[in-house]
Every structure is written in structure tokens, then in C-alpha cells.
């Protein structure tokens, strides 16, 4: 029984009409896309500058050699993990209310994971030597593991987005006659001759199931390996055995928030209130409470243990966080970005669409800065003093090109999600039909 869907009786035709409505190239959308494209070109100009003049155009230096590019990379990988949690973990447990949200979650996963790979390239001093990683790849390096799992995760996520989309692509092929030629052709190819035959459904379900199982270890390892980029070093603040689960738990918080925001905009823009209901928001809010609770627990561990032992270097790091240079950002992120939003969504009215979406934006912003807090302060507290270098090397401030390139990554995510949402239905039509029929019977 699915009780999150609208109680209204909907016919199949009605559902198809509602959910295929978003597939059109309206002027409003063209304007939006043009805006995104222009913004992206501006950001790309800054990237061109970075290639021309070297990473020196950023605020990075020998002591903080990983800055917001890497924090942003961690953030993107984190956000993309939600695809695994919602479509796989909950899906395999037959939690039926997530079904309409599964595709949105996969969309978020694909977009963020793909762009994460690009962010890593923007952080490279020699992007022209990217092929060296494949030619001379060194199996002991966590970067090689990371590249391997990110690529794998993108592939699985794309397949997991694509395979359950087959019946809907076939529907687009059959029903949408007033879309451009190339689009019709694309549907025809991508539909793989889908006829809705029982054998086809069986194959689709089998493949989906394999992927749903496979994606769990891959998703866990993608973020665990990302955490190992830090945990495998000897620096205090990074040198922590709980970094893997710590990162994974944080990832679900960021991912839930991202999905809630995406849900909200799709619901409003495509008038999907019958399919993405207030009840969905309420449940996503509760899921967010759960994952945030786990994350708070890991945060306490990460701080209390070194703070208790006060081993020389750790003590310095913890002190910087709690009451030193980083304390303002630290408490803003912990209280403003995690604890307070978490307490708020405990109350039912706060889980209504608009407040929940706003809280999610706060959480997502907090999550982004949290990644900066993980990456930067540790480097500012090296074991040996920072001396005989320019004064600005004792702190870190991102520059305009750096911020622009980072913004570019978000724009790219928006472009990918917007375009995909214009080409394919964002709610699985065939599954909704099944659900409604099921409910009717």
C-alpha cells in the first residue's frame, strides 16, 4: 500500500499527461538554459586563466595546497551518494513511498558524480597529463582507487537511471509526436525496442536488481576512498580511522537535503503535487532527521576523542576548531548547519514543503562549509612552523577565479539536471501507474 500518493482517483491517461507535460522546450526553459550557459562560459574563462597562469591564480599555496576545489569535490561525491540510499537501500527494502523519488535521487547522483570527476581535473596542476593516471597508474595510491570507483559509480548510476527509464522512454517514443526529430530518434534508439513485454520487464527487473545490490558497496567505497585521501596521511585532524563512516554519514545528510531541494523545484515547476506530495516531504524530512542524528554522533566522536587525549598536534587542531581561528566557521556549521536545522525538522510543521526546502538549503550550505573545515584547517596546522614564506601563506582565502570555477561546477550540475528533466519524465510513470492500479484494486 502506498499512502503517500494523492488519494484522488487518477486514470492512466491522466497520469501520462501530467508526467509527460514537462517534456517540452518552452521559452522559459530556453531562457533558463541560456542563463546557465552564459554563466558557465564566464566560469570557463576563469578556468582558462588558471590553465594559462597556473594554479597561482587561486588562493592555494604550499601550506594549504588543497582548498575549496578538493572540499567541493568531497561535497559533490557526498551528495551523489543519496542515489544509493534512496533507490537502492530503501528500494530493496520495498519501502514503496520512495518509488516516485527514486529517479530524482538518481538524477542528483548522476549529475553530482559526473561533475565531481571534472572538479578533480580543475584541481590538477597539469590537467594535460591526465592520461598519466591511466598509463602510469599506481595501485597503491588512494587517488587511483578514487578515480576507479568514481568512474564505476558514475557508470552504475547512469545504468540505474537508464534501465528503469526504459518503459517511460518507450512511452515518450509512442506519445510525444510534437518534439523535434532528433529527440524522437533518440527515444527510438534509447527505448531498445521496448514493447512492454513480460520478458522485457523480467530482464529489466533482473538488471535493476543486480545494479541495486552492486551499487551499495561501490557507493560506500567511493566515499570511503574519498575520506582516505585524508585519513591515509599522517596529519593530525585527518589521521582518523573513523573518517570513512564519518564521511558516509555526512554524505547522506547532504544528499537528503539536495534531493529535498530538487523535489521542491520539480514539484513547483512541473505541477507535480499529486505525485510529489506533502507526505513525501514529511517522510524525507524524517529520513533527514535520522541521517543527521547519525552524523551528529560521528561529529561528537571526531571532536571528543582527540579533545580528551590532547595529544600535542591534535590538541592544537581541536583548540583551533573550538575556540581558535576556525571557531566561527566551526560553530556556524555545527550549530547553524546541523544541530538547529535538525531540531527544527523534529517538528511536523517544519517538514512541510517550503520550510523543509529552506532548511535543506541551510543544511546543504552548512555541509559545503563543513567540507572546507575538514580540508583546510588541518593544513594550516602543520607539525613544523610556517616560516620564511609570504605572510598570506599562514591563512587561506579563495580568490575570484577559484570561487568562479567552483560556482561553475554547480552550474554544470544544474545544466545536467535541467536538461535530463526536460528529456525524460522525472517521475517513473509506469511505476506510478502500477501503484495506482494496485491501490484501486
Amino acid at each position: 500500500m502506498n499512502d503517500t500518493l494523492s488519494k484522488e482517483i487518477l486514470t492512466d491517461d491522466q497520469i501520462e499527461q501530467d508526467l509527460l507535460k514537462n517534456i517540452n522546450w518552452g521559452n522559459k526553459f530556453k531562457l533558463w538554459l541560456a542563463f546557465l550557459a552564459v554563466s558557465l562560459i564566464i566560469c570557463l574563462y576563469f578556468y582558462y586563466q588558471q590553465i594559462e597562469h597556473g594554479l597561482g591564480v587561486t588562493g592555494l599555496h604550499d601550506y594549504v595546497s588543497w582548498g575549496i576545489y578538493i572540499s567541493n569535490f568531497v561535497f559533490f561525491v557526498a551528495t551523489s551518494l543519496i542515489g544509493m540510499l534512496i533507490s537502492s537501500v530503501l528500494g530493496l527494502m520495498n519501502v514503496s513511498w520512495v518509488k516516485p523519488l527514486a529517479r530524482i535521487a538518481e538524477l542528483v547522483a548522476v549529475a553530482f558524480a559526473m561533475v565531481a570527476g571534472l572538479i578533480i581535473i580543475t584541481d590538477m596542476g597539469r590537467p594535460d597529463r591526465l592520461l598519466n593516471v591511466f598509463m602510469h597508474g599506481r595501485v597503491q595510491s588512494p587517488i587511483v582507487w578514487d578515480i576507479a570507483v568514481v568512474v564505476t559509480y558514475v557508470a552504475i548510476s547512469i545504468l540505474l537511471l537508464y534501465i528503469p527509464l526504459l518503459p517511460d522512454i518507450a512511452l515518450c517514443r509512442d506519445k510525444l509526436k510534437n518534439v523535434p526529430k532528433w529527440q524522437q530518434k533518440m527515444y527510438k534508439i534509447l527505448a531498445l525496442g521496448w514493447k512492454g513485454k513480460a520478458k522485457q520487464f523480467k530482464l529489466m527487473n533482473n538488471y535493476t536488481r543486480i545494479l541495486l545490490i552492486l551499487i551499495i558497496p561501490i557507493a560506500l567505497s567511493i566515499h570511503t576512498v574519498t575520506s582516505w585521501l585524508f585519513a591515509m596521511t599522517l596529519r593530525s585532524g585527518w589521521d582518523s580511522p573513523i573518517f570513512g563512516p564519518y564521511f558516509v554519514s555526512g554524505a547522506f545528510v547532504a544528499g537528503c537535503a539536495a534531493v529535498i531541494i530538487t523535489m521542491y523545484f520539480f514539484q513547483k515547476n512541473y505541477k507535480l503535487d499529486k505525485y510529489i506530495t506533502i507526505d513525501h516531504f514529511d517522510r524525507m524530512g524524517r529520513l533527514l532527521v535520522l541521517v543527521a542524528l547519525v552524523y551528529v554522533y560521528f561529529n561528537i566522536n571526531e571532536i571528543i576523542v582527540p579533545a580528551y587525549k590532547t595529544n600535542t598536534a591534535d590538541a592544537k587542531h581541536v583548540q583551533e576548531m573550538l575556540s581558535g581561528h576556525e571557531s566561527i566557521m566551526f560553530w556556524m556549521v555545527q550549530l547553524g548547519g546541523l544541530i538547529i536545522p535538525f531540531l527544527l525538522i523534529l517538528f511536523r510543521p517544519m517538514r512541510r514543503p517550503l520550510p523543509l526546502m529552506l532548511i535543506s538549503i541551510v543544511i546543504l550550505t552548512g555541509a559545503w562549509f563543513k567540507r572546507v573545515l575538514i580540508v583546510v584547517p588541518t593544513q594550516l596546522a602543520p607539525y613544523y612552523p610556517i616560516q620564511n614564506v609570504p605572510e598570506k601563506w599562514t591563512h587561506y582565502m579563495p580568490t575570484v577565479p577559484e570561487i568562479a570555477i567552483t560556482t561553475g561546477s554547480f552550474i554544470l550540475v544544474l545544466i545536467i539536471m535541467s536538461v535530463l528533466a526536460k528529456l525524460f519524465p522525472v517521475i517513473p510513470i509506469w511505476e506510478i501507474k502500477e501503484e495506482i492500479n494496485h491501490n484501486k484494486n
Binding site: 597508474g137 582507487w145 564505476t152 552504475i156 521496448w194 514493447k195 530482464l203 529489466m204 543486480i210
Partner: protein, 300 residues
Amino acid sequence: MNYFKYYKSIILICLCSLVMANVQAQNEWEVTTEQDKNLSPFMFDDEMVLEGKISYENSCTSCHGMPGQADYTPMAPPPGDPGSNQFQLQNDGALFHKIKLGRGAMPKFEDVFADDETWNIIAYIRSFNENYKQPIPDLGGVEIPKYDLKLAFDENVDKLVVKVFSKEIPQPEVEVSAFVKGTFGKLLLGKIQTNELGIAYLDVDPKLPGDAEGKLHIMVKATKGYALAKLNQKMKIVQPTIRKSAIEGRHIWSTDKMAPIWLKVSFFITIFGVWAVLFFIVFGFRNIKKAGREDDVMIE
């Protein structure tokens, strides 16, 4: 600390004598004939040059600069470049006494350097003059002996045995110094005079690591007055040592080729395993397509 005090005193002397220096600047710095004819009691050799270089750099560079570079400190009168002709045309004795006694801004080094140390500095200065040939005093017909050295190692007492001969006759009271040659320098084993049988014994630590055959590169020098002999020889003295490469074995930090087997195996099995499944699914698309067509055929 000593050095520091000593620097300070030099500066003080320099400053105090500036006034006097101006007065005396015009006069030639003359030495007596006797002083001028004074000659080094040692043959200048590489060791002396090296020792002299260190003394020179510690005490002379501040005013005279590097010999041959003409980078001396501008003063009145100019201290001059010891590598220049003007300097090199002077006799060894003149240099010796000028260093020793000083004048004006030039400090007196009599109390700083022992005579042999002063000769080291002269040896160093002379090393910048290709045409220099060390003058040897008239020894009244006495020939400078030519030494032959013979090395042996006495395992029972861990001593290097150096025998000094000249025309088959053992030479007593010859100063013998022995070194072990390393990559960047020589380890002094000892300095000792030969006994009446022309033999000098020098301790060698048997724990010194040798090469793969247990050999050490020994350098021996024997001097007495102007007589000088050297010998380089590789000798089996210590236990052979096997020199291991610093990158033996498989480690996390090894190159990819030498990566730990377990890591390589688990990495590639995981990656290939997952991708095999993905390709299986992608190839499975054909089955989906076929499943769509099969039914068509049946219906037709």
C-alpha cells in the same frame, strides 16, 4: 663561542688600526732578507691546501675575499687579492711573516695560527698559482729520500702495519698518517712516527664496514721534512658487508611494479569484477531488444 670572540677581536683590531693604516699606507711593507728567505719546512700537498682553505675561509675571506676573484673588501690601503700577481710574486717567507705579524688593518695572526697552520694558508694561496714551484732550501748536498711504502694488516691486533723504506733501508721517525677513503672524505685512522725498524702501527676498527669483499680503501702518507710518499691501496681488513638496496621488497611506497601482491590482486579483482557485471548488463540490452522483436514475429 671561541670563534665568535675571535671575530669580535678582529673587528676591533681592524677599527683601531684604520687610523694607523692611513699613515702607513704609502710605505712599502718591507720584510728583512732573512724573513724573506724563510722557507716552509713541509712540502705543500693536498691536505695542507685543504686545511689552509678552511683557515683562510674562517679568518681571511672577510677582507681578502676568494683568491682569484678580486672580491676583497674595499679599504685603504686595499687588502688585495691573494690570487693576484702582486701577491704571488712575493716569496713564501714574506707571506709567512706578513701573516704572522700583520700591519695596520691587517691583524697579527701570530697568536692565532701555529707556524704549520700559517704554512697551510700559504699552501692554499699558492694553489691558485699554476706556475708556482715550491722552493726547497739548499740541503747541503743531502738528497731528499724517496720513500717506498708497504702496507699490511695484522689481524691479531687489528692494526695496520706501515713499513717505510728508502732504498731498501727502513726509515725511522717518519711521520705516517693513514686514512680510510669514503665517498666524500677521508677518515683519519691515526698519525704516528715510525719506530727504529721503520714500522708504524695504526689502529683499525674491525667493525668498519667494508665492501662486498671486506676491503677498505686505505690511503697512507709518510713525510719527514721534504720527503713525501703516498700510497692508495684496497686491503682486505674487515668483514665483507652486503650492501642492500634501499628499495628491496614490496611496500606500499614501492613503485607500481613492486606493489604488494595482495593489494594488486584485490584491486584488480574488484574493479574487473564490477565492470564485468556492468558489461554483462550492457550486453543484456540486446536481450531486451530481442525480447521485443521475438513476440512480434510470433504474432505475425
